[in-house]
Amino acid sequence: MSNSTDVFGAALSRRGFVKAGGVLLAGFGLARAEGQQQAGRVDALNPALPESWIEIHDDNTILIRTGKSDFGQSTIFTAYRQIVAEELSAPFEAITTVVSGDTDRTPDGGGTFDLLGGGMPNVRKAAAYVHQALLDLASQRLGVPKEQLSVKDGVVSGGGKSLSFGDLVKNQKLSLTIPVKGDVNSMFGLTVNGNPPLKPVSQYTIIGKSFPNSAIVSKVTAKETWVTDVRLPGMMHARMVHPRTLGSKLVSVGALDKARFPNAQVIVKGNLVGVVAPTEWEAIQAAQQVASGTKWTEWKGLPGNQRLFQLLKEDADWKTAPAASSKTNKGDVAAAIANSAKKLSATYQLPFLKHAPIGPTMAVGDVRPDGTVYVYTHTQNPQALRSGIAQMLTTSVDRVVVRTFAGPGHYGRSNGGNAGAEDEAVILSQAVGKPVRVQWTRQDDFAWSTQSSAAFSEVEIGVDAKGSLSAYEINHYMPAMQDDRLVGAILAGLPTIPAPNEKGSLFGVANSMQDPWVYDATPAVLERAYGTGQVGQNSSPLNVGLRDHSMRTPGQYQQNFPRELAITEAAVLAGVDPLAFRIQHAREKRLIGVLESARENSGWATRSQRPSGSDAVSRGQGVSVMFRSGTYWACVAHIAVNMTSGAIKVEKITVAVDPGIVVNPAQLKRQVEGGAMMGVSMALLEELRFDESGVTASDWRSYPIATMADVPEIKVVLINQPEVGTYGQGSEAANALAAPAIAGALFDATGKIARRLPLKADYVKTLLKA
């Protein structure tokens, strides 16, 4: 082989021969990483460690690496394996190892979102390059032109001869350098560049099958190493004593009762107070004792739940940050509404929500004597966390390693790096010179973590005499949504990224249009999104108010609920069945397809086709749709409303989903079922309670979520569309669909319109009496 073979822009080279073993490593070269200003930035602590995407071993096993972590989606253990096996034409089972997340063991960084990368995740393109490299190797070895070779089950054949992938790499050290762009420590990490040939969809044999999630066995048999299981030699346990309010400064620290807690110590840095002890029970008790004597300044800078929307509407600055306009805006909306036969004008409100992981956030920090820092955590974006920890300690990013482990899902909270406890663990470890495990309490997790933004939207709709939409205008208002600051760094007065501000375009106060318009037949459309700062932040001496963060279907949930409920209201105004009304205004066949599927599979029936309800219970049906990340969704909710108490029981949820190619039907079905259930919980129960000083929700009684008693019949219909040519994603969309469908069903059942969430019994009861 010559020094280097060009493989569609990647470079295949032989680094040497080995007596035993043999491997092809597919990674990236620093010189080819466009946008890498500092050559050292992508180095892991130990540059000798592999940073390849894919390794082909001489025993025909394959290893894949990804900077993303599993948060219960199973994608990296199922879909990623299927995608790589498919592109390589290797057996699924040949991929014996998936290395994920760890910053010193994975190549590409980026967050655990957008897992299928718009149909082109890094692993797919990397596999496509590797496939071509293997063909080049086989062509040379077999003396057969590349185009005359065929590959099946990891064996390349041509000219009557064949070689396995393992044979091709035996006794060699081969490397394939893949072109990449981006910054590994940024929110989005590195992206594989170039256009290697991809396997035609018509030849797929692995994608589309329901392979099981390999991580489930270890979790079910208690063999998984969860983040909660990380134990380091000499490790100390810690509990935090967080400020009394979101704006409190430390006045004095309570004295530690050394007689009761001889091994505990209190660490104070600025407004950060932590209690560290060799055993967890001593740390817990000592922290409670210290907290009871610790004094804080008082602060009242929040509106409380009662005044939230009044503040957002009347006092918040929506003008400084630029408004975002939808690309699909068209026509003269004002004129069209003025000329419409019927009009609708309404405001919709969504509360703050908590990610509410079942386990409160925890992490282990280990600042070693040589100044290197190890963080053990459950994060969606280890490279971004690494960079945040380096900034906090004013050290270089190559001194920091983040290792990731399975943990309680937290649905977007850490997609910009931190889940909450990591920086505190590092600060305390640095102070005591030992590894420290910080476990937040349930109350810490409600009070000090970020939340999904509250929002409101104002809608104006015109309906013409023929019963069609003549014009649609919506203005969305939502405070900044992505506060990735390290809260421990803020409390300790250490450096961290700036608070969301007007200048931060992506993560600042500016809002953006997240919910693509789908009713293409509407002649005049105007959609805008307005942003502002976080509630309470400016008046807080800590610069901490209600910190917001993306959570499942971020921004789009806040925009889709008002749109979809308003469309249902418009349909009723037009005298048209809400599902038929949606089809009537759709042009996209895939959208019409999911709506028709939801209609057939849910048992949708027009009012006149249904028996009328009793006085005690009224039943109704509602529908919602969404287009997200290449996937079309339709949802039908069937509910029963207790006309006395106002309690809603969701009896059935039907979700039709067309992602293009369905990669793994069984896993997708479970994801959608889970998302729909969480969506029911959000729609019926969830609203963060807070007063003028901070979050008052502290446990599962003050922030209730759905239980098994609330389970509806959930029917998931997967629509596989190979002709779309690629796979969509965003199973989180299932979360967002429930609320507008349930509110539509409430309207259907009772004639009452509930334009704010959640749809708690008391609220519905008030509507029923009105």
């Binding site: 979790k219 079910v220 509410a356 079922e673 259930m677 239980t707």
Partner: protein
Amino acid sequence: MTTIVVNGVKREVQAPTDTPLLYVLRNDLALSGPQFGCGLAQCGACSVLLNGKEVRSCITTLGSAAGKEVTTLEGLPARWAKQNGLAEADAAKILHPVQAAWIEEQTPLCGFCQNGMMIKATELLERVASPSVAEIKEAFTTSGPSPHLCRCGSYTAIIQAVQRAAAAMSKRSEA
């Protein structure tokens, strides 16, 4: 020194008797099945069987477990083996039908709550061979100090896994 029997093995523990059992199991005995979810007996992530009854190990003190039999997720295969007269060596090779059903149904999403779900399912199926859906819901919501909470929304998959486990366990007892 407190003596407890964990997964069939007598263990001597140094921790103070007021230590919640959860921290003893996780930190002193290196058992990773039970998880810390709330410390308030409100979620069920920390559940274990204490003399066959599902309890929340986060509010159960070491002292109150003294002399009693604790079964954690790790001990479910041995528990099933003993109940069915299988040799101890076989216990290492099998899964409890509840665990097998959880895998076959691909029940967990993030999986953090599933320890408690499987413990609760085991308690239920030892009491009721073929529970109805209503009985399953009752077990997971009103039978204990709080409902067993799953944030990922895997309740449907849990119900299906309990039904599958029930069928497998009934088959075994008929054999």
